[in-house]
């Protein structure tokens, strides 16, 4: 092979490699995006049935119940307009509390409850997870527009 051809080959191979990497990245990106829905949106049927997503809002006061095994917890997440029941097995984060903001990731279960694989409550007592804050905001806006 002439050196010019070799050079061309290297360039072509390099570009092919980059193309594969880009395709890989974008594909992984597409299939791993996790969307966020508020309880109101879930109630309206906007959330996907077969794909993981995130919900957020406040943990309704008095709604946290433990099952017999001590590790499965059921609680209700509200955006003050609609509510959603959530079931989670495992240890909850330190800052999980009734009346406080929470974000959960998981899928809709067959019984209509949200089966969470992960519950997030962040690093600071007064800190509201941004998703939860947005859910409350949207619900408040929606209610206002109904009143008007």
């Amino acid at each position: 092979m002439k050196s010019r051809h070799k050079k061309l080959l290297v360039i072509v191979l390099g570009l092919a490699g980059l193309g594969i990497a880009a395709a890989l990245i974008l594909n992984a990106f597409q299939s791993n995006l996790v969307f966020f829905f508020s309880p109101t949106e879930v109630a309206a049927g906007k959330a996907p049935a077969d794909r993981a997503f995130r919900i957020g809002g406040l943990v309704e006061a008095g709604s946290v119940k433990r099952e017999g095994d001590g590790l499965t917890t059921r609680f209700i997440v509200t955006d003050t307009a609609k509510t959603m029941s959530v079931v989670y097995k495992g240890i909850l984060p330190d800052l999980f509390k009734e009346g406080k903001g929470v974000v959960a990731e998981g899928k809709l279960g067959a019984d209509g409850a949200f089966a969470a694989t992960q519950v997030l409550a962040k690093h600071d007592e007064n800190y509201m997870p941004p998703e939860a804050a947005q859910a409350l905001e949207q619900a408040a806006k929606a209610q206002k527009s109904v009143v008007q």
């Binding site: 990245i25 990106f29 433990r66 590790l71 909850l92 330190d94």
Partner: protein, 653 residues
């Protein structure tokens, strides 16, 4: 009085930074030696005054001066003294001051260790760093003054975030910033070279040790951060692909690419434009990382809206630095001569592949980190990109890079022979693949990810050994090998250790959440954990439920662990303090969840068995030591000295 003194010192530092930036740059452009000579004293004076300001802030924290707003918000009278000191950089304002302080430190280091560089080069480098200092000091003084008074003074502080009250957090931010800010030296050298139009091997040789040292500090900072997350967050994880972690990881990847491409520029005079671009990228990503983490934009993009001055300043500064340097690059780069030609199979080609893969990896992290922020800012809904994305992208990208890492150091510059390489490495490859295939079978059965990880770890280890053997064959003595070579080998070996550790812990760790009454036990990986209840304990600024878990094996008692659940007095914030028993082969990790009954007799307990997790930190430490070793190579000192009398003549060598 002391806080005012600090504020005043900061203003003087800003004036000195302006002097340090403007006069030497003008001097270098006009060839005026008097103006150029301003650079060193101005830089050192600036450092002294920033240090004075920092000292004043630290004094206020140590003396519990709650009339200073920053102290009142981030400290507490019951806080142990060491954490009162580290609280100095626990807040946004304090951490920006630390940034400025470390920038002053690096500038001073450049002014001291550049005696043998041409005057105009030194003037330009220090001048550019002065411009960056000016930006940071102006940002501090106009939007983030750490010395603001609170009237009336608070009776007591609101305490430091309990998560930050950990020994790992004491040194993590300074080390991380040493890395971030250290890239400003490489950045300043690159800009100075663009300005002077002298992009040559000498330029690469001057910036190499600085870049390597900065990279080693950044590696140390990231490793400490990961170690802290593992110890303190109570989730047993060591890397979460969290945006704050990604913010430090992106400059690290760019810095790694830069180190390797600088090698080509120094030895072969090739990749000049590319190396300059990487130097600009690494520092720009450092700035981006600092601002992402410190501006509050990650918890909410609307944090900018609550403090528009800060947000506008940050964005403006980023635009000026990134835009300005890219514009200069576009203007000057076409004039650069390209270096020597090389074959497709050569050291240059291997390092080029390394760079391409690293930058693709960096781009994937950047996409995953910024895309959700962008969508949110544009009001297009909330999305999150989690570990599955990063793992799916990172592993396939890194695998070929790690494979090439075995080959690269053994290739020759310019041209290497592929058949020859195959003969040299076939046994290493065979052993690596065999280990990768067989080792998982002896553990828990075939597992493709474990095979990949083990193969690569063994492959790199063997090629490093072959590298030593081939050097010794030529008659060199082990102790006589250059430190740069030792450094590279150690760092590559460290990465192999890290890969082995990651593979083992990711594929073979065990985790269990259990409900435990007093006397209950659970068995994992041969260890039996017996819960013996909790007792109350008072800490300096918290109270804790202290659990006692006895760990035994085959009926023989081994050790007792004391995980805690703490409630901090000032903030009322609960915190999980995991108890870890480490050794070379595994960690046993116990964390308390929450009490499950009124009398707190029964608890949710999380138990982990983490095989070989310490290999991660050991590998990280080897990378760090390798970096420092390489930067201390005699060549950099001798080459600089030889260049001094001969001046520009030596640069062609």
């Amino acid at each position: 009085m002391i806080p005012e003194l600090g504020h005043f010192a900061l203003i003087i530092a800003l004036l000195l930074a302006l002097t340090q930036a403007i006069l030497p740059l003008i001097g270098a452009q006009r060839g005026n030696l008097t103006l150029m000579a301003v650079a060193r004293p101005a830089a050192q004076g600036q450092f002294v005054f920033v240090a004075l300001a920092f000292g004043c802030l630290a004094w206020s924290f140590l003396h519990n001066d709650f009339s200073v707003e920053n102290v009142a918000r981030n400290s507490f009278s019951q806080l142990p003294e060491i954490y009162r000191f580290t609280a100095t950089w626990g807040s946004h304002e304090g951490s920006m001051l630390l940034w400025a302080l470390i920038l002053g430190f690096w500038t001073t280091a450049v002014s001291v260790f550049s005696r043998h560089l041409p005057d105009d080069m030194v003037a330009r480098v220090i001048g550019i760093m002065g411009l960056v200092s000016t930006g940071f000091l102006a940002f501090l003084l106009t939007t983030s003054n750490p010395f603001l008074r609170l009237l009336p003074a608070a009776a007591d502080g609101r305490d430091m975030n309990p998560l930050l009250q950990d020994p790992g957090m004491v040194i993590h931010p300074p080390m991380l910033y040493m890395g971030y800010v250290g890239f400003s030296v490489a950045f300043a050298f690159a800009i100075a070279a663009l300005l002077s139009g002298r992009l040559d091997a000498a330029w690469a040789r001057w910036s190499r040790p600085w870049t390597t040292v900065a990279w080693a500090f950044l590696t140390l900072g990231i490793a400490l951060g990961s170690w802290w997350a593992y110890n303190e967050l109570g989730w047993g994880g060591w890397w979460f692909w969290d945006p704050t972690e990604n913010a430090s990881f992106m400059p690290w990847i760019a810095g790694t690419a830069l180190i390797h491409s600088l090698a080509v520029t120094e030895k072969r005079g090739a990749f000049k434009a590319w190396t300059v671009l990487l130097a600009l990228t690494a520092f720009s990503l450092s700035l981006l990382g600092t601002f992402l983490v410190r501006s509050g934009v990650l918890s909410s993009v609307h944090a900018f809206a609550t403090d528009p001055a800060r947000g506008a300043f940050i964005l403006g500064f980023l635009v000026v630095v990134i835009g300005g340097s890219l514009a200069l690059f576009a203007w000057r780069a076409p004039r650069m001569l390209t270096g020597g030609a090389f074959n497709w199979f050569s050291r240059e080609a291997m390092l080029l592949a390394n760079n391409v893969i690293l930058l693709a990896a960096m781009g994937s992290v950047l996409l995953g980190t910024l895309y959700p922020l962008l969508m949110d800012a544009l009001g297009m809904g909330k999305i999150s990109v989690g570990p599955p994305y990063f793992n799916a992208v990172f592993v396939p990208l890194m695998a070929p890079a790690l494979f090439l890492m075995g080959v690269g150091p053994l290739t020759r510059w310019k041209e290497s022979s592929l058949p020859d390489m195959v003969t040299r490495l076939k046994w290493a490859l065979a052993i690596a693949v065999a280990t990768g295939l067989l080792l998982p079978l002896t553990l828990k059965g075939f597992n493709p990810w474990a095979t990949l990880g083990f193969t690569l770890a063994v492959w790199i280890t063997l090629t490093v050994l072959i590298g030593f053997r081939e050097r010794l064959k030529t008659g060199a003595r082990l102790t006589r090998l250059p430190r740069a070579f030792w450094g590279m080998q150690l760092a590559h070996l460290g990465l192999a250790w890290g890969v082995a550790g990651i593979t083992l812990v990711a594929n073979y760790q065990e985790e269990r959440d259990v409900r435990m009454n007093v006397g209950d036990h659970t068995t994992m990986a041969g260890y039996t954990f017996t819960f013996q209840g909790t007792t109350e304990r008072m800490g300096p600024n918290y109270r804790a439920a202290r659990g006692t878990v006895e760990v035994s094996r085959d009926g023989k008692k081994l050790f007792t662990l004391h995980p805690e659940k703490r409630i901090y007095n000032a903030s009322g914030m609960p915190m999980t303090e995991a108890a870890i028993h480490p050794n070379f082969f595994r960690d046993v990790y116990v964390a308390l969840g929450e009490p499950l009954d009124e009398e707190a007799k029964s608890w949710a307990v999380r138990v982990f068995h983490k095989p070989f997790i310490n290999w991660l930190w050991i590998g990280g430490l080897m990378l760090v030591i390798g970096g420092f070793l390489a930067a201390s190579d005699r060549r950099y000192r001798i080459a600089v000295k030889a260049a001094a009398p001969a001046g520009a003549a030596a640069q062609g060598a």
